[in-house]
């Protein structure tokens, strides 16, 4: 766990004190909303549809039991007893009162957490693989890289006013679980010919209005060159990125308009100029960062019982993945109960998770961008006890990666920018597929739902993506198929006209039925089937003999 230095601690406390003063001046009328708004956004405080919302960063999705308990305390004391985990590895509190928010930020600072850099045209919180430091396929833990980038980019004078927000993701494995190709910069750890670790550097990915998959600008970057190379990319973007149009300001548009080869040439030229004078980070700092993500002292020599209980076995099949140590496992705790709100956890559940992490998981927890919680290191001997404890807290849903493990943004139930609701669609889909045997028969299927074009629900990279729109005053849902957020990333393709609120869940069921019909056998996933057979059988299932097949919604 990365521990704050005195500098970090003082910086966060100063920000809270300044914000307390700004809140007081807003309440006593000496600040107008226009004056106050930039301050509250810088501190993660948004005004949503029904209330304020406080967005708290969970850097690299990593937290410990003490921090999780504090989040539970905040939820009970100043909110309505729950929190919502998001696709950006943040937690959002949906009901804070304005006057309480400085106290909430103070309570966060007590456990080394904050709400800074969750908005604005800066380098946002760097995200990484939720299995970091634990995965069997990992080359190196990506979090020291992510933390190094954070320290280098925070308050970097050249990068405080970028043309637009800038998102970086790091994955330590060839298997990309951090959606690296959907970020402005994605770093994927790879090895060169002689086995030395380095990065594949991807540039220009992003979802939203103009979704694009990042392209490779450097197939192998030695680790030591990381910061000067990133600086070169940011430098080129800062100079050449468009500032005249907010919708064209992301680096993906620059990459698209300039062409990836030309962009690469410019980045490499900037890199050549920069690298000579670049002051490498202090080796002591690098070592300290590295040390703060050290692996726990793994328990050894414990007997691993065979699992007989069918419910437990079913849960292990879906929610437990291979750890880099054979005697340990990674547990994904599903925050997607049937009919529930994706990503929500009550304060009791947060405390249960803290307790389980402290007892069985070396006090480590992770939040995944798929809105689940991960216990990254659990001894296989403890799996039955972990399952029993999760069951008690109502956190034992065995559906990770299945059709009911849906990503959904808050949509029009909370978000002021939404054009339609997304949460109830997720609730109804998971209820429609309640039968776990049916879900397991369907196999891996990722449904992702956004309540507007901003795509916080990552719908473009869902195997089935759903986008909620307002069409002439009616909630309308557009379907895309074949999206993929992993190393084989792809943007989903639109099926045709959209569906009403009442029609969308039956439409998804028809898609799943069509897949079951045309798949080669039960080992062929939805995505593989789609890639093999294309759109036609799915369109037929959606629109039948409708005349308007193919007409855009």
């Amino acid at each position: 766990m990365y521990a704050y230095t005195d500098f970090d601690q003082a910086f966060v406390r100063e920000r809270v004190d300044a914000f307390r003063d700004q809140v007081a001046r807003r309440i006593n009328g000496s600040l107008t909303e226009d004056e106050f708004k930039p301050h509250r956004l810088m501190n993660g405080l948004y005004l949503q549809l029904h209330a304020y919302m406080l967005r708290v960063a969970i850097p690299y999705g990593t937290l410990d039991g003490r921090q999780m308990r504090q989040l539970a305390m905040i939820a009970d004391r100043w909110d309505k007893g729950y929190g919502h985990f998001t696709t950006r590895q943040n937690i959002q509190f949906n009901w804070p009162k304005l006057a309480d928010t400085p106290a909430m930020l103070d309570a966060l600072a007590d456990v080394e957490m904050h709400a800074i850099q969750t908005s604005g045209n800066c380098i946002r919180n760097v995200t990484s693989d939720h299995f970091a430091g634990a995965a069997a396929d990992e080359i190196e833990d990506p979090r020291p890289t992510a933390e190094l980038i954070r320290q280098w980019s925070t308050d970097h004078p050249e990068f405080l006013y970028l043309p637009r927000k800038f998102k970086i993701a790091v994955t330590g494995s060839p298997n990309d679980r951090a959606a690296a190709k959907a970020h402005d910069i994605g770093l994927r750890m790879v090895r060169d010919d002689i086995g030395a670790p380095g990065y594949e550097v991807l540039v220009g990915g992003g979802l939203g209005r103009t979704p694009m998959i990042a392209r490779v600008v450097r197939a192998f970057l030695p680790k030591a060159d990381l910061l000067p190379y990133l600086e070169a990319i940011l430098h080129v973007y800062n100079l050449e990125g468009r500032r005249d149009n907010k919708y064209k300001a992301r680096i993906k548009i620059l990459a698209h308009e300039t062409g990836i080869d030309e962009l690469r040439t410019r980045i490499e030229a900037a890199f050549e100029r920069i690298r000579g004078d670049f002051t490498a980070p202090d080796p002591a700092t690098v070592a300290r960062i590295q040390g703060s993500f050290a692996a726990p002292d793994f328990a050894t020599d414990r007997e691993i019982p065979t699992i007989a209980d069918p419910a437990l076995r079913s849960w292990v099949d879906t929610n437990v993945a291979d750890h880099r140590r054979a005697d340990h496992a990674m547990v994904t705790v599903s925050l997607k109960p049937i009919g529930g709100t994706p990503g929500d956890a009550t304060s009791d559940q947060m405390r249960a998770l803290a307790e389980i992490a402290e007892t069985y998981a070396y006090d480590e927890l992770r939040i995944s961008h798929e809105q689940n919680v991960v216990l990254p290191h659990v001894h296989r001997a403890d799996l039955p006890a972990v399952y029993a404890a999760l069951r008690e807290a109502g956190l034992h849903t065995a559906n990770v990666g299945l059709v009911s493990d849906i990503i959904a943004c808050p949509g029009m139930d909370y978000c002021a920018l939404a054009t339609a609701r997304s949460i109830p669609i997720a609730q109804e889909i998971s209820t429609a597929f309640e039968d776990i045997r049916r879900q397991r028969d369907i196999g891996e299927l990722k449904i992702k739902i956004s309540g507007c074009i901003n795509a916080c629900g990552h719908h473009h990279v869902g195997h089935i993506g759903i986008l909620g729109l307002d069409r002439a005053g009616v909630e309308t849902y557009q379907i895309t198929l074949g999206g993929d957020a992993t190393e084989t990333a792809a943007i989903g393709e639109r099926t045709g006209r959209g569906f009403s609120y009442e029609e969308i869940v039956p439409a998804v069921e028809r898609l799943v039925d069509a897949y079951l019909e045309v798949r080669e056998d039960e080992t062929e996933t939805f995505l593989e089937t789609y890639r093999r057979v294309g759109m036609t059988p799915f369109k037929d299932a959606l629109y039948g003999s409708e005349e308007e097949v193919g007409r855009a919604a």
Binding site: I27, G29, E33, L47, L49, H50, L98, D413, A418
Partner: protein, 97 residues
């Protein structure tokens, strides 16, 4: 003049959705909002709201329909959701109204 309108905003202290009433107060119930039937009336109501920046955030006009009881009803689904609270949890406004 297209549709009748009302003024809505978020309350400064808790962000709650509020509506300007007949007597110049702010109610949490859309049905208690005062209705502007002409553009001129609408402008005047909005100006009244904008003069209270210390109580409100982001006042705006929104179209309503008028029910048989003579009270306003939301004309758009977004305003219907704002008037009731989130559909996934019964602890927004709908719990109190």
């Amino acid at each position: 003049m297209s549709k009748p309108q009302i003024v809505t905003a978020n309350n400064l202290m808790d962000g709650d959705v509020v509506y300007l009433t007949e007597d110049g107060e702010w109610s949490r119930r859309l049905s208690e909002a005062t209705i502007a039937l002409t553009d001129q009336q609408a402008k005047a109501l909005l100006a009244e709201a904008q003069a209270q920046p210390h109580r409100l955030v982001g006042p705006y006009l929104t179209a309503v329909e008028i029910g048989d009881d003579g009270r306003p009803r939301p004309a758009h689904f977004r305003e219907a959701f704002r008037a009731t609270g989130p559909s996934n949890r019964f602890h927004g406004k709908q719990a109190e109204l």
